[in-house]
Structure formats: structure tokens, C-alpha cells
Symmetry: C3
Subunit: 345 residues, 3 copies
């Protein structure tokens, strides 16, 4: 942990300080449970009720909430981003020592930068490359010809199939699998024929990939994850998908083959996206929804239904099944003839 005064933090991170600049802080904390000597933040309005009683040395807030602050305020237009930077500075990542652990199995043709850290029991196959200051966690497997950019960190037990390329400053979490075969099968008279998956996976810079997320290699061309994409855990990205820069995707999302997702999209947890679609830039999809058509306009989309008491819901479902009949009955009450309804199919 680092230590700083509030005045130093304000100067370093471009914040306005209301309070004593000489107060030292050494850690971050939550608004509710902060101890003296810590700095905290207010970003989610639901925690505003703790603002008056926090014991933190200072709170990172926006201008509108600064007045309610009974301790020192570090004022930012974007308190959450300011908090993120201060937290990273007060709590730096442990430094990995350069070098290859004696138990790692590294093919002589692989090129490992001198400043890279290769942990215990890593396997690096022929022709793979690891850039400067990259960290390859224990038990990772880098297939033949895979490449890892500078300052990228793989946590323990990440798998890259042959030829997968990851850019700079990325983070990949444990259990992630990049470059497995896409689900390509052709139906023939006596069963399935496997369609070879000949493309690869290309990941840009500043991408984070969550634990146990899978990104399949392309069938012919590559699956592409552009710069600054953020993927949570247990996401499935099928072959030939392209995810645009700055898009963030929450856990348990499944994206089917050959779909293109635009830039700066936000996809909620558990969403399913069908194949061969185009999703425009700046689209948000609410959690647990299905996207089965291209979304050509920015906006927020949803098909999610919140759970209610099961007995009430059972009655809804019983009626839902007969919704088309109900529609016909309403039309009949209105004096329309069912057959004349052009929308009926």
C-alpha cells in the first residue's frame, strides 16, 4: 500500500479538495464502513444516506453532493473513475519478478521477453511470443504461435489455443479459453460432419476477459475483440463474432456465430444474442433478454420479465398461452370479423 495526503491526491488526480490538505490516507474503504485514514467515494445514489456518518478521511464526490459531506471532500465530475484511479494508486498490483519458473515447459522456439514473468507449470508451445512485462500465471497453456502483448497479465490456468493473439495491457482471468473450435457442423445423411475451424482469435489492447469465459476461433476468418472491450465471467463468444471497442458485457451472456456488436454497447447479464446479426453502436440490452434480430439504432432494448409470486405468475402464463384467442374475442366485441384481420398470421 502507498500513502498520501489529501492534498497530494487532489494534485495528482486533478480534484478539488475541500478540507485539510495535510491529512494522510493509506487505503480505500466503503462509505459505510470506512475507518479513519481511508478515502471513500459516492457514486451510487442509494448509498448517499451514509454520507453524513462516514468516518473516512475524505469522500470523492461530485459537486452536487459535496455540501452534504461532513468530512473532507475530493470533488470530481466523475467520482467513480477518480476513485478507481486513486484505489489503483494506493493499492498497487504486486510486482511480478521477471523470469521463467523452472517448472514451466517452454518450447525453445518460443520468444519470451526478458522482463516477462512465466509462473510455475506454464506450458508455452512452439513459436509463441510473450511481450515485455507480461505476466503468465501458473498453469497457463499458450498454444503454438500464440502471442501476448506487452504488460498483459494472464491469471492462473488460462488456455490459448494455437495462433491466438492478445494485445497490450489486457487482463485474462482463470479458466478463460480462447481459440477453441467454433461450433461448426454440417448435417449429412448419416450424421454430422465437422467443419474445420481455420481462423483464430484476435484481441485488441486494454481488454479484460473474465473467468471461464470462452471465445471461439473463427471458421475461416478471425473472431475479433476490439480495444477496451470488457467481458465479465462465463461469457460465450462464438466463432466469427466481432465486438466493437469500449463495449462492456456482463456475465453469462452468449453471443452466437458471425454476429457483429458495435462500439460502446452495454450488454446485461444472461443476455442471448442470435447469430448473423448486426448490433449498432451505443446499444444497451437489459439483462436476461434475447436479441434475435439486428438492432440498427442506438437505444435500450429489453425482453426481460421480473419474477413475481409463483401462483400469480401461473395464472399469467395460462392466459398468455391463449393471448391470440383473447385478441380475437376483443375484435369480435368491437364488431370486427376475425378473418379480415390483416395482422393475423
Amino acid at each position: 500500500m502507498a500513502e498520501a495526503t489529501l492534498g497530494q491526491l487532489a494534485a495528482r488526480f486533478g480534484l478539488v479538495l475541500r478540507g485539510d490538505p495535510d491529512v494522510p490516507v493509506h487505503a480505500v474503504a466503503t462509505l459505510r464502513d470506512a475507518a479513519p485514514g481511508t478515502v471513500t467515494f459516492l457514486a451510487n445514489p442509494r448509498y448517499r444516506r451514509y454520507l453524513g456518518s462516514t468516518r473516512a478521511a475524505a469522500v470523492i464526490v461530485d459537486e452536487s453532493a459535496a455540501g452534504e459531506c461532513t468530512v473532507a471532500a475530493l470533488i470530481s465530475k466523475n467520482p467513480y473513475a477518480a476513485y478507481a484511479r486513486i484505489a489503483a494508486w494506493l493499492h498497487p498490483e504486486p510486482v511480478a519478478v521477471a523470469g521463467v519458473h523452472a517448472s514451466a515447459v517452454v518450447d525453445p522456439s518460443a520468444r519470451i521477453a526478458p522482463s516477462a514473468h512465466i509462473a510455475a507449470l506454464v506450458v508455452i508451445e512452439a513459436g509463441a511470443e510473450v511481450g515485455e512485462r507480461a505476466v503468465i500465471g501458473a498453469g497457463c497453456v499458450l498454444g503454438a504461435g500464440a502471442s501476448i502483448g506487452e504488460d498483459t497479465r494472464l491469471a492462473a490456468r488460462v488456455t490459448l489455443y494455437r495462433g491466438v493473439r492478445i494485445g497490450r495491457r489486457c487482463i485474462v482471468h482463470s479458466g478463460a479459453v480462447l481459440g477453441a473450435d467454433g461450433f461448426g457442423i454440417a448435417q449429412d445423411v448419416d450424421g454430422w460432419v465437422k467443419v474445420p475451424q481455420l481462423g483464430s482469435v484476435v484481441v485488441g489492447d486494454d481488454v479484460e476477459i473474465g473467468a471461464n469465459t470462452t471465445i471461439d476461433r473463427g471458421a475461416i476468418e478471425d473472431t475479433v475483440i476490439e480495444d477496451d472491450v470488457k467481458l465479465d465471467n462465463q461469457i460465450q463468444v462464438a466463432h466469427n463474432v466481432r465486438i466493437g471497442a469500449h463495449t462492456a458485457i456482463a456475465g453469462c451472456v452468449g453471443i452466437s456465430g458471425s454476429t457483429t456488436i458495435g462500439r460502446r454497447c452495454m450488454i446485461g447479464g444472461g443476455v442471448g444474442i442470435a447469430g448473423h446479426l448486426e448490433i449498432a453502436d451505443n446499444v444497451a440490452v437489459l439483462g436476461m433478454s434475447l436479441v434475435s434480430r439486428s438492432l440498427t439504432k442506438p437505444g435500450i432494448y429489453s425482453a426481460s420479465v421480473p419474477a413475481i409470486e409463483a401462483g400469480d405468475w401461473r395464472r399469467v402464463v395460462a392466459r398468455l398461452r391463449h393471448l391470440d384467442d383473447m385478441y380475437d374475442r376483443v375484435r369480435a366485441l368491437e364488431g370486427h370479423d376475425k378473418v379480415s384481420d390483416p395482422e393475423h398470421s
Copy 2:
């Protein structure tokens, strides 16, 4: 496998025996396919039809079904729990030999109990602790300072990030990842800023965690799994979630950040739970439902819709889209003015 007479089983497990106490049994079996010398059980009423024809030596049943039993009956108020205990006794786990496999990479500062079993190619980093009789399966990675309680078993290829703490008598299955960074990102003008994930994961006693389940470390405080929680495979538990004691969660559930789930809850497969919610004790959620609001009362909740023939369903969906219009038309038929409807938003 152990062997016992029916009389011994009745005595050991506190059951009432109707039948010959000297009949030996050596294994468990299903009601339908039991061979002589085995003991079986009836817990699910759909299998009651096999009760009259089973060839088992004895059936574990409750009082109400004992009369239909044509072989010996071991009578219990809770036949399934009695079966579970008898099966564990007749089919004990293979005993793991104490000691550290020569191929394991164990940091000198780690503390490994003498009776613990560390399998091949395990990595244990600095300061980690493994309790008495614990079993660490092949290829596991225990990050710096992680700790494993007494009698806890990790199957092959489990990953614990630094500082993750697991209690006693737990079971963690292959591919599970505990302590990866939570999905914390702050939006800034030119992209995402990573929010450091500084908490850890704390797992109580008697917890089981399924294959490829992921439990993220907390952002500031810890993610907490209380005693006797049972998690199936491929569950995603986000940062700062708390799951109350005795709660059971089926496969493929996703729980978003900072949500608290009560004690003795039952969450069905594929459920999604949004973030920052409070779920009361004794809540059940039916499979594939979305929970997007706090559930403050015990009860059964659902939003699941069973699949029907696709052509019929397509008509339902077409009408569903226009449900608000249909409501207005019903109100018009009733003689109401649309504008006067206070519920319309």
C-alpha cells in the same frame, strides 16, 4: 465398498426395519434396476410404480409407502437423507494418502498440514495454508495467502486467487475459480477505467461448489458464502454477493454484484438475479426466472414460461407486443376513456 446386514443399517441409521435383519447388503441401487444384495429408496413419487417389482434386498421408505413394499422396508421420516447417509457409508470415498507429490510446486512459506494430500502438479504460492486431512487435487493453483480448512477437498484443476479462504469439510469441483476480479469498471470520456478489486472471497464450512462455477472477489469488502451453501455447476457469483447459510443454487445461475441472498433459499437453474438486491430467507425462485427487485417475503417466485409449439408461440409473441393496445381497446369497450387511466404510463 463396505458390507452390512439390514439389522446393522437400521441400528446405525436409526431406522425401523420391517424384514429379516440378517440379510446382507453391499451397495445401493435404483428401485427399478436393483440387484439382490442392494438397498434402494423411494423419495420421488414418480418412481412408486417400481416399488412392487424391485429386486433390492430392502427399500428405504417413509411410513406411508412401507405397506406397498414387497421386500424388506427400512422406514424413515426422511428416506432421501437416510439413503444419502447409507450410500456414503456403503461407498466410502477413496482415502487420499498424506503427503505432497514430488511434482507439486509449493512455496517454502506455505503451511501444509502433515495429514493433507497435495496431488501432482499442484501450485501453492507464498503463505498459503492447507488444513489437516485436506485434499488438493491435481493441477490446482492456490494463490498467495489462500487458506483451505480441515477435511476440505478440492478436485483437480481448481483455482483460488490470492487470499481466498475456504472453511472446513467443503468440496470444490474442477474448473471452479474463486477470487477472480469482480467486474468493476468506471466509464470515463475516453474508455473504461478498471476499478481495483481489493476484497477477497470467504467460504464457510460444509459448502459444496460445482464444476466451473466462478465466485469473484469483493471490490473493497469480501464476497461471502456462508456455511452449508450448496452451489451447482457453472454458477456466476459476482463481487460483494453474500449467500446465506443452507441456501442451495442450481446450475447456470448468475448473481450480480452486491446482492444478498438469505438463508435456506432455493434458486432454480438458469435464474438471473440483478445487483444490489436483498433476497429474504426461505425464498424459492423457479428455474430460468429473472429477479430484478428485492424479494422481502418468503415464498415462491417465478417468471418462467414453458416452451410450446413454435407456431403457436409465434402468434402469442405477435400479440404480446401489442398488449398495451389490447388493454386500451378493452377499456374502450368498457366505456372508459384511455386518457383517464391512471395506471397507463
Copy 3:
């Protein structure tokens, strides 16, 4: 890569060639981006617009599209399957060298066929078997008594628990876990009792299993995956499930315990299937649907709702909650008495 003339391809794969048989090809390509010297295909009608402008040496097409082809045509009744076979022939898998890597930990009682390839840091426990020409990727763990048939390939970091049996010519992708304990727990007064999972997992021939897919061992009998089943990534198959031959299942599907799925079924991505059900042969289920009852007839089933603009959807959900009331109001308008409705429950 191999190389062939169009005439050789036509002869080897039983296709009708319209064009110069002496033109050489060395690779496959997409219709849109093909370079000279490549062969491509048309299977999905949405790409037909590229047929007139492709630069490929030849296109694999069916008879109906051959006329539009401005380059050579390789005519097949099933262009996609023909493409798959040609692609596999032009781009053969890298050959794995027979032998056991020095870093692998193989129990002396395991039987490894001389032509098998065991990669770095594999663990093979007592009594396991690996068939001729099988490939076991880096970091795999084969539990005691597990068996792998001839020509089966495990990618890196696959886990088989004790006793799991896989047939011939299968492919299992990284992170897959076969044979973890099924989710068997019995509720007792003071908490859960674990139900021992005593069965195993049996996988037939020609099965492909995707990355991070989990298949649990049976409670008493085995979980069974029949021949030529194709499973995509992140699928959860619970204990005692049986999946019939030639069935294909897309990513993120969850199948609950003791359900039987028929032959030649097609299950879309993200589908959830409840436990103890029977799904007939030739059933298709559309993506993101829930199957909560047995489906006894072949056909296509769905409960999926495509996302729409969130504001519009919110109004639908508000009405959906009160669908039962709306039904009553329609019946009142029709002059029915609510109480007399036999369907109302």
C-alpha cells in the same frame, strides 16, 4: 496445407465440376473475401449476393445456384458438408508425435497406447487407459480408471474424474469437466446431506464437447452421451441425463438431472431443460426457451421473446402482470360470469 486441382477435388469428393479441372487450389476462403487459388461455398442464402463477384477458383454450390456462379462450380446436393470435407482435406490437423512428454505424471498402472500423444504436464492416474493415436493436450487430468478411445483428442486442460469413459474419434475442448459429482443433496432438519454420486459418465464415439462444458457423473447409474452428439461450449449436463445419438446442442444450455433427450434433436443456445423429462427424437427447441414438460412429439418448440425498445417493453410487462384481470374483463364484456369460467384456477 495440401494442394489439389478442381478435377481432383471433384473426383475425390464425388462432386460435379463445371469449369476447368486443371485449376489448382490450396486453401478454403469465404465467398466474399476469397483470393485466387481458393475454394469457397454457398450454403446460407444470405451470402448469395456475393456469388457473382467472388474471386475464388471455385464455389461449392447446389444445382440451383450453380447457374449464377461466374467462376468454376463444384456441385453438391449438400454444399456445406462437401465444403467441410474439402476444408479438412486441404487443411489437415497438425500431426501429434507419439509418446509421453517428460513432464507428464503418469501412474505406472495406466495403459497408454504406443501411438498416443501425451503432452506436457498431463496427469494420468492409476488404471487409466488411452487408446491408439489419441491426443491428450497439455495440462489434462485423467482420473483413476478413466478411459479414452482410439483417435480421440483432448485439447489442453480437460478434466476427467475417475472412471469416465470416452469413445473413439471424439474431441473434447479445453476446460471441459466430465464426471464431477451431480448436484445431489437431501434436506434434513439441520441442513443438507450430500448424496454420494456413484455412477460415472459414458461418452460414445464421434462426440464433440465444447470448451468449459460440464457433464456430471450419475448418482447411481451413468450419465450417457450417445454417438455423434455435438455439444457446444459452456453447456451443463446434470447427473443421469441421457442425450441421444446425433443430437446437437448449442452453447450455454442447461439440462437438469435424469432428463432423457432423444436422437437427432437440435437444442438452441441458452435453453434450459428441467429434470426428469423425456424429449422425443427430432425435437428442436429455439434459443433461450425453457422446457419444463416432456415433449413427446417431434416438432419445433419455443418460449423465446425477442427484445424490443425498453420503454415499449416496460408497458407490455405492466399489462402482462394483469393479464388474468384483462381476461376476466373480456369475459364480462362478452356477458359471461367470471365464476362460471372452468379454466380459471
